[in-house]
């Protein structure tokens, strides 16, 4: 009786699809870049594959992968990714491309972050000047972890900063909104910043330090978790993402005349 | 039709919030006619009626009908309860509960609407009727299932003279047609006009019970004498 009920409900609720469908959890910074709008149609054309994107924070993407609710994830947090694979949640990690982080702040730049020698120096100047606060995503995302790494490089303990450091626990867009509202400094990925529609009185102040490079990796989820995981499609997509076609699309992608991502996938 | 009587109440008591509002009451009501219950306000008339009808829970004592069929009673409340529907729908409601066929319902509704003179209001909301019209509707609704006995709790208490007369006329017709009436009233004139037998309640006890004529002309207790005179009795 119970079994019949489950079968009936499954049939009732089953999503009938003609093309192949796979789900990927991606980070908000990837979505904000707008690159998906270029890649997805091409994927559909070449592979007849409908890619459903769940745009979540890095932490949630990893959780979804762990639960087996998605077929692959695309994130940018190397340490977390390696742990993910080591724990058996993902089969492997494949580097696809990188973009970079930038330091954004008030046009007046009272702290002189724009003239810093490197990223750590920029953050150091911001808190030393204590003119405008610093807004952090504080959400354990790839961007947040990268930001924390710079603080460590600068030898600064954020616990000592008091009100100079505002942790909002939110996504990139929300953090940027808050920063604009407070006329504060903020650590952002380049794509999100370029695409952000509400820049207010903030401008890009510091960029270029290699410590700010942000590597994106693609991780197929371990199919042994459950029978719904389309590992076949995940591998197919991986092949496409590391192909010449993808390489061209990614390198050619620009916002306001600026290149965003650099393709750096190598043979497996 | 009146096979349900006699009605025997033995040792009936109703308590509310620690006080005895009715009882102990021992009463046997006979088969025919119209019984009127009189007594000052607060003497328990409403409670007694509700006990007899069976909508009041009694802890002590028993109410025994010769032949009880609950569908054969009907009750008219002091403030008529109108369903939030049209006049015709209110009338039809008790028959709908019995799953009576529609054509029979329509016949009955038409009959009663004519009898109480509300035919022109049949499609209007019952809640917009005047007090007298509502009470007539309530009585008609109570009678539409042809009950053996009709209980009425001071039906014309809040009505003007004209409405009261209409209602008494209706009750007179109905009683003559054989329906047993048990009615509470504080209108002594009404009591004299309609009663076959009378129950005089005082402080929740039956003080006197008997045929109307002798009771009104030669009351036996001082309290009843005072009450009939119009004094305040407690």
């Amino acid at each position: 009786m119970n079994r019949t009920l489950i079968i009936l409900i499954t049939v009732f609720c089953a999503q009938v699809s003609i093309a192949d469908v796979m789900r990927i959890a991606v980070t908000t910074s990837f979505e904000n870049s707008g690159l998906a709008d270029v890649l997805l149609p091409a994927i559909k054309d070449d592979l007849d594959l409908d890619v459903q994107l769940l745009v979540v924070g890095t932490g949630q993407a990893l959780r979804l992968g762990e639960a087996g609710d998605v077929d692959a994830i695309l994130v940018h947090s190397k340490a977390a990714e390696e742990a993910f694979v080591a724990a058996g949640h993902g089969t492997h990690r494949r580097e696809i491309m990188y973009n970079d982080f930038v330091v954004v702040g008030p046009k007046s730049d009272g702290a002189g972050a724009g003239a810093a020698a490197n990223a750590a120096d920029a953050l150091g100047r911001i808190v030393a000047a204590d003119r405008a606060p610093f807004v952090s995503r504080g959400d354990d995302s790839g961007t947040h972890k990268a930001e924390l790494a710079i603080w460590t490089l600068a030898g600064i303990d954020i616990a000592d900063l008091g009100l100079r450091y505002q942790s909002v626990g939110a996504g990139m867009g929300a953090a940027l909104n808050t920063a604009v509202g407070l006329n504060a400094y903020v650590f952002s990925d380049r794509a999100s910043w370029l695409n952000f529609g509400n820049k207010g009185g903030l401008v890009l102040l510091y960029q270029g330090d290699p410590a700010l490079f942000n590597q994106y990796a693609y991780l197929p989820i371990n199919p042994s978790k459950n029978s719904h995981i389309r590992n076949d499609l995940a591998i197919q997509l991986e092949g496409w993402l590391t192909s010449q076609k993808a390489s061209t699309l990614i390198d050619d992608y620009q916002i306001a005349g600026e290149k965003l991502f650099t393709f750096n996938a190598s043979s497996p | 039709m009146t096979a349900a009587f006699p009605l025997i109440l033995s040792g009936v008591q109703v308590r509310r919030q620690g006080k005895t509002v009715l009882g102990p009451v021992d009463l046997t009501l006979s088969a025919n006619g119209t019984t009127i219950i009189v007594g000052p306000n607060g003497s328990g008339k409403t409670t007694l009626l509700r006990v007899m009808h069976g909508i009041e829970r009694i802890r002590v004592g028993g109410v025994v009908w010769e032949n009880d069929d609950p569908a054969k009673h009907a009750f008219v409340f002091q403030t008529p309860i109108m369903l939030r529907r049209t006049v015709a729908e209110n009338l039809a409601y008790p028959l709908m509960l019995l799953k009576t066929p529609k054509d029979q319902i329509d016949l009955a509704v038409d009959h009663w609407l004519g009898r109480i003179g509300l035919d022109s209001s049949r499609g209007g909301q019952a809640t917009r009727l005047s007090g007298g019209e509502r009470q007539k509707l309530a009585i008609a609704r109570a009678l539409i299932r042809k009950p053996d006995v009709l209980f009425l709790d001071e039906p014309s208490a809040n009505l003007d003279g004209h409405a009261t007369r209409e209602i008494e006329a209706l009750l007179h017709e109905v009683a003559n047609a054989g329906t047993r009436l048990v009615m509470a009233t504080h209108d002594m004139g009404q009591a004299r006009r309609l009663a076959n037998d009378v129950v005089f309640l005082l402080n929740g006890r039956v003080h006197e019970y008997g045929l109307a004529e002798p009771l009104f002309s030669t009351p036996s207790t001082l309290e009843l004498i005072a009450f009939l005179r119009g004094d305040i009795v407690s």
């Binding site: 904000n32 087996g68 609710d69 867009g173 995981i229 | 369903l83």
Partner: protein, 219 residues
């Protein structure tokens, strides 16, 4: 897909999800609220208090619980419902059923107090009482349902988690607004917000017109 087509798509999806949730929630909540008004039983006050308390359940928490239930690694994962409109409907049903039940119960209780003596006197069965109350109290029940609608159409936390805000699959007006706000595109977000309010007004108007509640004497 042009902006207009996209707008149509997510608006219709919003309506479909919320109206379906409303229908299911009402079917559960209205008889429940009415039953609680007419039937006395020992834990009745307790049940009513629980329902009232559930009204304050944060939608995000509901979303989280439903996600855990529907996740492939969860008890109902085999149904493969996660990240679909169906999952969103489930979450919204859970959120709005207490709201509708509570409001329905309140007005049914008042109506029952009015009808109590008459319906008992007429020897009605429990079921007949419930049907009579629902029929005669339908205007107030409609208000209860519309309150549920309002709660659902503007909800974003739960359906974001269980629906995933997937483009062309589970994106609705509220999640789209959240997305555009996050991107800093306030103009678009506001525009979508106005569409949402407009739809809400239209639904309310449509329902009131269909039931002719303002007509003289019927209210």
């Amino acid at each position: 897909m042009s902006i207009d087509e996209e707008l149509w798509e997510i608006s219709l999806r919003s309506l479909r999800v919320t109206l379906t949730a409303l229908l299911i929630a009402s079917i559960i909540a209205i008889p429940l609220g009415t039953y609680l008004a007419v039937q006395r039983f020992r834990c009745r006050r307790f049940v009513i208090s629980i329902i009232n308390a559930l009204m304050g359940l944060p939608p995000v928490v509901v979303g989280l619980v439903v996600y855990i239930m529907l996740s492939r690694s969860g008890p109902f994962g085999v149904l493969n419902l996660l990240f679909t409109p169906t999952a969103m409907i489930i979450a919204q049903v859970i959120i709005i059923t207490p709201v509708i039940a509570s409001i329905a119960h309140q007005s049914m209780r008042e109506l029952w107090a009015e009808y109590h003596d008459l319906l008992i006197s007429l020897n009605t069965s429990k079921w007949q009482r419930i049907l009579t109350l629902i029929h005669d109290g339908r205007r107030n029940l409609l208000t209860a349902a519309l309150a549920g609608f309002g709660r659902a159409i503007g909800e974003v936390g739960a359906i974001m988690i269980v629906g995933g805000n997937i483009d062309h699959v589970s994106r609705v007006l509220t999640t789209a607004i959240a997305l555009e706000t996050g991107k800093g595109d306030f103009v678009l977000a506001m525009g979508l917000g106005f569409v949402l309010i407009g739809i809400s007004i239209l639904v309310n108007l449509a329902i009131h017109t269909l039931t002719r509640t303002e007509r003289e004497g019927r209210w």
